[in-house]
């Protein structure tokens, strides 16, 4: 299969590492490290949705925060529009701030409860230097509300007077205030009920088409990520174990962890669900402080060999933009 030729990536992450120190004592001596993100690489192309899935604590949020430099990575390169921003200082980052935005899981926690909808959005609009006059700012607030499907009359409300879905729309409007290029969506629908989740997922897709946005879409729900993303990276314990086109994941996933995730995924297809066999993984996810040697997944993998116990597998391309980090997958 020939590789499709692509344009330049909007974002290219190379060998990204983020270690958090564990300290103790008066002098805060570092005695160990949480290897939250442990050497991952990926690219995101303009107008694409790149999905990141994996279980709690595997390093998804940390990756997202490093990618838009909310966090400064311990090691590695974060190349945005051709420039490495991994080591830039706060002031050097300023021009990038508007273009790189973050949408959180908990719409409530990320909104100031004392601020009205209008004041929350106005604040974000004013940050965007292109707009000046009060009238323009007001118009922009109305425009943003309409864009995310909220009635401009909601301006005078406070976050607690809105439903979860409405608050998430507000969070999206705020992130869009500065016309961002790349938006990291960190579990943006996980806290919502299914009927509302579908509204927001559709909104994300409409906005992308309308505004030419590029998304890094993070979630633990593989079905939601599959629906949103063009390509999906599956993370396990700080590493990417597989990258695959969304359209192929159901049939062509190769990494034993991805296969287990797929088999554990609840579905609403009654007949399929009744006859489907499930892979029940043994044991627990190890801690990112004491990571197992070799392949991090080996203690739970039924195919693990001596090599797996000793050597950490690299991500290898098996064709059709499909990459797998597993010793037992033939290239």
């Amino acid at each position: 299969m020939a590789e499709t030729v692509r344009e330049n990536p909007l974002l290219k992450v190379e060998q990204l590492k983020m270690y958090f120190p564990l300290t103790k004592g008066l002098l805060s001596k570092t005695y160990s490290w949480v290897k939250a993100v442990d050497g991952i690489s990926f690219e995101i192309y303009p107008n694409e949705t790149f999905g990141l899935v994996g279980e709690s604590g595997c390093g998804k949020s940390t990756t997202g925060k490093c990618a838009i430099r909310v966090l400064q990575p311990t090691e590695g390169r974060v190349v945005y529009k051709g420039r490495d921003i991994a080591g830039l200082s706060k002031s050097m980052l300023k021009p990038y701030r508007r273009e790189l935005q973050l949408i959180f899981q908990d719409p409530y926690g990320s909104l100031n409860p004392r601020q009205s909808v209008f004041s929350i959005l106005k604040e974000a609009v004013v940050l965007d230097r292109e707009r000046h006059t009060a009238v323009e700012a007001n118009e922009r607030v109305d425009e943003l509300l309409t864009l995310v499907g909220l009635d401009p009359d909601m301006k005078s409300r406070y976050p607690h007077e809105m439903s979860g879905g409405q608050r998430q729309r507000l969070g999206i409007a705020r992130a869009l205030a500065c016309n961002p290029k790349l938006v990291v969506c960190d579990e943006p629908v996980s806290a919502l009920d299914v009927s509302i989740q579908a509204q927001i997922v559709n909104l994300f897709r409409e906005l992308q088409a309308k505004l030419g946005l590029t998304y890094l879409f993070i979630a633990h729900d593989l079905a939601v990520v599959r629906h949103m993303a063009d390509r999906i990276a599956i993370m396990y314990l700080g590493k990417i174990v597989e990258v695959i086109d969304s359209d192929h994941i159901f049939r062509e996933a190769l990494h034993p962890y991805t296969v287990a995730l797929l088999s554990a995924l609840p579905t609403t297809d009654y007949y399929q669900e009744r006859k489907r066999s499930r892979i029940i993984l043994e044991g627990e996810v190890p801690s990112p402080v004491n990571k197992p040697a070799g392949c991090a997944f080996h203690p739970r993998c039924k195919y693990a060999t001596e090599t797996c116990r000793q050597v950490s597998p690299g991500l290898r391309n098996v064709g059709r933009n499909h990459c797998v980090a597993c010793h037992n997958v033939a290239v």
């Binding site: 009927s195 079905a223 995730l261």
Partner: protein
């Protein structure tokens, strides 16, 4: 399937707040037989948890109050007994055991797992401490916790979320109850752990020939395990039937909407999800008409004028809906996601291919 073990009739529970009466459980009737597994599904705030708490009379009061109904457990109406009566105390745990939504809050953080397990075992099995400790180790082993001797001496925070939930399961099963109620037993867990825990719970329930009520907001999670489903909306049961009926021939517009809202991993990605418009209603000063009316894409004149529709049986089946209309729809197979010219869900009742 065995005898009817629980029969609930017209249960009503309200919270009397300064904003008004919150009708959390509104005229709810259901039943469960011996060795049966049923699910309660519905979105946040629809009254799933309060329904279960009402059976055990552990609704926080005030502001909560059971305002009506009957709860027949093994033929006796539990609501005839006061919440703190000896009868109710013996029902809790030994008759009906509940596994709560949040395992961290239902395990006491200051006592070891072993301490809490032995307390419960001594209470229900009338054995001494040493014997109870041994049984505790056995209980942990039965829920597949490795090194149970060591884990007995751990505090809850030293266990992972999945292990804590399995400890809760061990406690519930070891009280040897007739019915286990598991309230969102796996919602806080990762998918792989979720599968682990559910498989375990269901296999223990089957092995001990118990009845199980699983409460969840995720229809997909339970499809595989449950015999029957009750769908709740705004404090009421709006549809019930066998799992096969509900999952393949849902007839209430809300249930249809719920199933359409979920992204399906085996389907084309290009299809748009069909959300339900709007949001659930407040449970204070509720519209006497159908509570789903403002969100319903099938609503017609009857719905606008008549009172909330009573649950009614569809033909001879065990399938009930609370809907004025009869939408003989099917969401099986390829019909999901199709819209007709009026922008409504396709109602073509084609069979599953």
């Amino acid at each position: 399937m065995g005898e009817r073990i629980l029969e609930v009739r017209n249960l009503c529970t309200s919270f009397f707040t300064h904003e008004g009466e919150v009708k959390a459980v509104n005229d709810v009737s259901f039943h469960i037989d011996e060795q049966e597994i049923v699910a309660f599904v519905g979105e946040s705030g629809c009254g799933k948890t309060v329904t279960q708490l009402s059976l055990l009379q552990i609704v926080p009061a005030p502001p909560g109050k059971i305002t009506g109904g009957e709860v027949f457990f093994k033929g006796r109406d539990l609501l005839q007994h006061k919440p703190n009566s000896p009868e109710m105390r013996s029902v809790r745990g030994a008759g009906i055991a509940m596994i709560f939504q949040e395992p961290m809050t239902s395990l006491n953080p200051v006592f070891t797992v072993g301490h809490q397990l032995t307390d419960i075992i001594m209470l229900h099995r009338k054995v001494g401490h040493k014997e109870a400790w041994e049984m505790g180790i056995e209980a942990l082993r039965s829920v597949e916790i490795p090194e149970p001797e060591v884990r007995m001496r751990n505090y809850p925070f030293e266990l992972s979320g999945g292990m804590r939930q399995r400890v809760m399961i061990a406690m519930a099963v070891y009280c040897n109850p007739d019915i286990i109620i598991a309230d969102e037993p796996t919602t806080a867990l990762d998918v792989t752990t979720q599968a682990q825990v559910l498989e375990l719970l269901v296999s223990l329930v089957k092995q001990h020939r118990k009845s199980l009520i699983i409460v969840t907001h995720n229809l997909g999670v339970v499809t595989r395990y449950v015999d029957r489903i009750y769908v709740m909306y705004a404090g009421r049961i709006i549809e019930s039937g066998s799992t096969e009926e509900i999952m393949t021939k849902p007839r209430h517009p809300y249930t249809i909407g719920l199933l359409n809202s979920v992204p399906k991993i085996e389907k084309e990605r290009s299809e748009k999800l069909i959300p339900i418009k709007g949001a659930p209603p407040w449970l204070i000063d509720m519209d006497p008409r159908c509570t789903f009316l403002p969100r319903c894409s099938y609503a017609c004149e009857v719905c606008e004028t008549k009172e909330f529709p009573k649950l009614r049986r569809l033909g001879e089946s065990d399938h009930f809906i609370a809907c004025h209309r009869d939408i003989a729809g099917s969401i099986t197979g390829s019909t999901t996601g199709r819209l007709d010219s009026a922008g409504r869900h396709d109602l073509g009742g084609e069979a599953h291919g």
